[in-house]
Symmetry: C2
Subunit: 182 residues, 2 copies
């Protein structure tokens, strides 16, 4: 990659992170290009689809995901607390910008999504937490971990669309956690 190309690439990602945080995932891409000081052509050459840009933005995000899972697994205490803490982290992680929960959760089941690798990191993190509980025999067996992602993702999605805060989300996560534990 040529030096000027890399410079523009990085600058676009940086600006996009800012704009998406301000205006949500639906922000205008031409606006991103303008703020980054490049033409729309340049933006679309680097990122043919909106989701390619999202994928680049999420590059740094994957580290935080695994960290959060590590932290949850290190938790000493009741299984219910562990699961709830993880769920809250999960919601926070995918709710970084408006529209994110829906995008990430629906990409989870789509192998062709440009952000699929990022989703897999999240799915694997969730898997580790679920496996730990399963090994302790604390969890019902008849549900796939992908469905768990969907359940929690669904809650994050409605919270995102309805502008709910963490305390309002908590009871919904409790219901799901209690439904999963046995």
């Amino acid at each position: 990659m040529r030096a000027d190309a890399k410079r523009n690439y990085d600058r676009i990602v940086e600006v996009a992170r800012e704009v998406f945080r301000e205006q949500g995932y639906d922000a205008s891409l031409d606006e991103v290009a303008k703020r980054a000081g490049v033409g729309p052509g340049t933006l679309y050459r680097h990122f043919p689809q909106r989701e390619n840009l999202l994928d680049a933005i999420m590059q740094s995000w994957v580290d935080r995901v695994t960290e959060a899972a590590d932290k949850a697994l290190a938790h000493e205490g009741p299984d219910r607390e562990l699961l709830l803490d993880w769920f809250q982290e999960y919601v926070a992680l995918i709710s970084q910008h408006k529209g994110g929960p829906a995008k990430i959760t629906s990409a989870m089941g789509d192998p062709d999504s440009p952000i699929i690798t990022k989703c897999q990191v999240l799915a694997e993190a969730n898997q580790r937490v679920i496996d730990r509980l399963r090994q302790g025999g604390a969890l019902r067996e008849d549900i796939e971990t992908l469905q768990v992602c969907r359940l929690v993702g669904g809650i994050a999605t409605v919270a995102d669309q309805g502008d709910l805060d963490a305390p309002a989300v908590r009871p919904m996560l409790e219901v799901v956690a209690d439904g999963l534990l046995r």
Copy 2:
């Protein structure tokens, strides 16, 4: 309302129902106008916002909602079955067209939404089912019924966005039902 106005109004609603079913809730409104044989101006005068049109489409829908709740309440059998049957109906009702679950669920918490009256019918139907279970002492007390709507709406939303069918949705509804029952 003048006769020609009513004629156009009805025709737009009829066509919109068809187009939304075909193309989802994001379908072009100019396309609806074209198919209805009216100018865009006419459509936007009758329905200033997209949701006003959705509200009109849902007029016949409210009857089905109350019917479904009646049917659920008439159910003889375990509470779990009753709740699950109702949840399945609930998901089916709000999944009429693509994008519907998200729209309806987020409108539930927004008093200014043009479709709020329709949402209230749905919320009341849900309330009746929940109340029945609460009276039997079968349900946990620490959760509002609006939250129940959000939980089930969240599942419907991810199912809608991920093109999941009813059998795939079922286990998620079971988790929520089990988490709510005690």
